[in-house]
């Protein structure tokens, strides 16, 4: 059991008067891989967006424990939070139209040090520094045209995940990673994720509708409905839970 990574206190978010997320107290990251399930509209993606500050919360506090020490990230900007190590992959395919696969990875691996308007001669150094890492990613995940652009929707989804991994996050939020990803790639992604959590102490929170995957990879599962975390427990416990069966599986999981 790992140290906790994120502590959410009394966080709420509503859109047009409808409360979408309302969480009194939630601790994330005590296990390597945690799953977050719940029916559509339960507020899972919104909760993730509140943690990464893509969305502004109405009130509440998010505390982050990067190396054991306490850090209030409630009012930090999205890019700051990402630099601190909390990164989210996207449910809907996102890409940079003009960046190739390598460019995308170079963008992730580059730091502010290189991204200054007068540093127009630092490309060679950045490429040297990141050569091995990029080769490792492109060797593990096969793209149709590794020197070109991500072609299919599946490749774009995969690239999105690799871009996030390249940032070496301490806490990775994955929003429906398998949606649009071919099965063999899903297996590869999940194998890599398990390794990262064991070897590098990374914590992962996965939102997913593919419940078999959730039961397989998560050590702890949260069940969310109507903006609240109703139950948390091991996959076994959640599977047998009556509330989950009624509110989720019986209704929207066929």
């Amino acid at each position: 059991m790992a140290e906790k990574k994120i502590h959410i206190k009394n966080v709420a978010k509503s859109f047009g008067g409808r409360t979408v997320v309302n969480i009194a107290d939630l601790t994330l990251g005590t296990h390597g891989i945690e799953g977050l399930i719940g029916p559509n509209g339960a507020g899972k993606t919104t909760l993730m967006n509140l943690i990464t500050h893509r969305l502004k919360m109405d009130h509440g506090q998010v505390v982050y424990y990067p190396n054991g020490e306490e850090l209030d990230i409630t009012s930090r900007s999205m890019d700051e939070i990402a630099r601190l190590g909390i990164v989210k992959t996207n449910q809907i395919i996102q890409d940079f139209e003009s960046l190739s696969i390598t460019d995308s990875l170079l963008l992730s691996l580059s730091t502010t040090k290189y991204e200054q308007f007068y540093r127009i001669f630092s490309e060679g150094r950045l490429r040297d520094e990141t050569k091995e890492q990029i080769a490792a990613y492109l060797d593990y995940f096969r793209f149709t045209d590794p020197n070109g652009h991500a072609l299919s929707a599946g490749e774009k989804k995969l690239l999105d995940i690799i871009r996030c991994l390249a940032l070496k996050p301490k806490f990775l939020l994955m929003d429906e990673p398998t949606a649009g990803l071919p099965e063999d790639q899903t297996i590869k992604v999940m194998d890599l994720m398990k390794r990262k959590t064991k070897e590098e102490g990374m914590s992962i929170l996965i939102v997913e509708h593919d419940l078999d995957l959730i039961w397989n990879v998560s050590e702890l599962v949260y069940f969310m409905a109507e903006g609240e975390i109703l139950i948390q427990g091991t996959p076994e416990e959640i599977r047998k839970d009556r509330t989950v069966a009624v509110k989720y599986m019986g209704v929207s999981y066929v």
Binding site: S77, N90, F96, L107, T112, E115, L126
Partner: protein
């Protein structure tokens, strides 16, 4: 020889070089970073007038006046950018157009400072080399423009350029990867706008007498047409586009095509606009990414 190196030909060449720099800076702002700056002349004109005022009204030494005007333009761009750069493209377009109009209006109305439509002058050439003053000035403008083009070329294959492209393509995604996109965009906008101001100060030496007509929206339109014609995403798009528009008209046609004097002032500007418009339409229809851009699929 000296005859050729001074006067009309040098004047035209210097103007073309300045326009190439403006179009290349617009390429960096719009083509690379996606900032729709429709007030090019605002920054260009601010630099030009600020320089003229510093030099003539306050007798500040030439080079210091130039630097001050450039910095002032950058500061104005920084202030404006802070307010508008996070808005959508249409708002940025309107706001930059508005700032350009403000500059033109102030140049006209603040007669105590700018001498209004009577004109502010005389701005001398930067170097007093007798008959070679003008050619020396031209070479200075040329060198600075070449530096801008080289910068644009280098930045394209640098980590910084990649960041700018990622902002143009998908700013929220870039931000989610830890890039402080709004700060970077603001800073880049301020620097490139300040450089537009620098070329404004240079242009002041070329025209000698500053009148508000010189900072009319026509400058912005010319630079935009040149960049779109040449290819907004290409480093040399601004250069090719400028040569194909002002280069062709203000130099090649006016110098080598015998046009009756009566048509020169009345008909030519109309024909010029007519052909610019036609060329723009043809390019947008058959080669939307410009002469240098890839063909329509």
């Amino acid at each position: 020889m000296v005859q050729f190196l001074s006067g009309y030909v040098m004047y035209t060449f210097s103007s073309i070089v300045v326009y190439i720099a403006l179009a290349t800076l617009l390429h960096l702002q719009f083509g690379v970073t996606g900032i729709v700056n429709f007030g090019v002349v605002g920054f260009f004109g601010l630099g030009m007038y600020a320089f003229g005022v510093f030099l003539i009204q306050y007798h500040i030494p030439y080079i210091i006046a130039m630097l001050l005007a450039t910095v002032l333009t950058g500061v104005v761009a920084l202030g404006l950018g802070r307010v508008i750069l996070q808005l959508d493209s249409q708002s940025i377009l309107v706001a930059t157009l508005a700032i350009a109009t403000v500059v033109e209006d102030l140049a006209t109305s603040e007669k105590w400072l700018t001498k209004g439509v009577i004109g502010l002058g005389t701005v001398p050439f930067p170097f007093d080399l007798g008959p070679y003053s003008q050619v020396a000035y031209f070479l200075l403008a040329l060198v600075l423009t070449i530096l801008i083009v080289i910068y644009a070329y280098r930045v394209e294959s640098s980590p910084y350029g990649r960041l700018l492209l990622s902002i143009r393509d998908n700013e929220p995604l870039a931000q989610s990867l830890g890039k402080s996109t709004s700060r970077q965009k603001l800073f880049f906008f301020a620097i490139t706008s300040a450089l537009m101001g620098l070329f404004g100060t240079l242009h002041a030496s070329n025209v000698h007498f500053l009148v508000p007509r010189m900072v009319s929206p026509g400058v912005t339109f010319t630079v935009w047409i040149a960049l779109i014609l040449g290819g907004r995403k290409k480093v040399l798009g601004g250069l090719i586009g400028t040569l194909a528009t002002i280069g062709l008209f203000d130099f090649v046609i006016e110098t080598f095509v015998p046009i009756p004097a009566s048509a020169q002032s009345q008909l030519m500007p109309v024909i010029k606009l007519w052909i610019y418009g036609l060329a723009l339409m043809l390019v947008l229809m058959y080669r939307p990414s410009g002469i240098l851009g890839e063909k329509k699929l």
